[in-house]
Subunit: 207 residues, 2 copies
DNA sequence: CGCCATGCTGTGCACTCGCACAGCAATGCT
DNA sequence: AGCATTGCTGTGCGAGTGCACAGCATGGCG
């Protein structure tokens, strides 16, 4: 897995790198993301990524200084897409409901997110990227919903908005994860619980 | 990484393997678990595990047919310990409260669990082990708490016991995960929310 | 025309990996 | 005493890895 050459920290000249807006580069990132989802981060090697994209292995090193940089690029693309999609959801007429639906989409990144979480355990750069993404993700929710919450008759003592956000996020991610394993005990009950709360503030069928 | 063995069935005589109750074997399992927590499943190689345990690499293959078998052993040990500890928590005078505290212990496996989840994505044997463990884990909770719930004045329409269990599990695991990344936005609020619910059924200071 | 930046490639090094196979020393069984 | 089992080890193969380095062809620009 780790076959690191002798010299790791050659800081000065670095080598010639390809352009960031290259189409080839994007193809490599996408191939890497697919590989990650299909076979885990351990399968993301320069030769495999290249093979998947129909390109030569050296191109990976031409566009990315290290494999970690590739992984980071994959993460940033996925993170931006997610923020994009969440932002659209939060702009809906019933943002709470939309947020709940959004975070329950299977495409919400489930498997890939898991891989990155595991990666974060021993790759400081990735850990950092995930942390700031998570923070921004939550802040985006809070910002978009703060005005809406004021108009609902939510007693902030009884149910602080932030608590509801964390609650929804926790439940949807754990449920999604368990479902992907084939475990579904108790899911229906907790989903109904959340949806009842949402129904109170955003009754279905009302625009 | 990929060592596809065409022969999955144990029909072949395979090679000589060490005893399952060996002390050396246990040492290897523990070394593997530590490595996993410290550096991810990618770091669990025969040579590294052996080095960590102060043993020779070949011993890994002497006690485990494949590296997957090692990983599985690590998981099963951890799973049993967790079931053990949860069972003790559920036997407390205030089982709901104990369960909540138990699932909020950092040692609840956080990082290692994450690694196994990621592994499960592409290792069917491990996926299966995790699924049945998760199911048993939840069932153990349900069984231990069903009688208790009856004595509390919980309206099962408003808050089904199963929903509360899934809710507590989801929140504690996501909170723990985020905290390990340094993200804590909204945690205090949601924790208070859960603890208020618990307080209703199991008032603090009452034995 | 020469020049040089850019995208890409051929070759190769130093290293890690899983795992096989043959054997050794000690211990227990008969 | 003879033999088999058990724990462990030396050696080594074939495959895979990250990444460096020195080129090649092309196209824009002076």
């Amino acid at each position: 897995m780790l076959a690191k050459g002798a010299k790791v920290a050659k800081s000065a000249p670095s080598r010639r790198l390809g352009a960031e807006d290259s189409k080839t580069r994007a193809a490599l990132v996408e191939a890497a993301q697919q590989l990650m989802a299909e076979a885990g981060y351990g399968a993301v090697s320069s030769r495999r990524v290249a093979a998947k994209a129909g390109l030569k292995p050296q191109l990976v090193h031409y566009y990315f200084r290290t494999m970690d940089d590739l992984l980071l690029a994959v993460f940033q693309v996925a993170a931006e897409q997610n923020l994009e999609r969440q932002s659209r959801a939060l702009a809906a007429r019933q943002p709470l409901r939309a947020l709940w639906e959004f975070s329950n989409e299977p495409a919400a990144g489930g498997i890939v997110v898991m891989e990155f979480m595991a990666l974060a355990n021993h790759r400081p750069a990735i850990r950092q990227a995930i942390a700031s993404y998570a923070e921004e993700f939550r802040q985006q929710q809070a910002a978009a919903l703060s005005s809406v919450f004021a108009s609902y008759d939510i007693d902030p003592e009884e149910l602080p908005p932030m608590a509801l956000l964390v609650l929804m996020a926790s439940i949807s991610s754990v449920i999604g994860l368990e479902r992907s394993l084939g475990v579904t005990t108790g899911h229906a009950e907790v989903i109904r619980l959340v949806e009842d709360v949402i129904e109170r503030y955003e009754p279905q069928g009302v625009g």
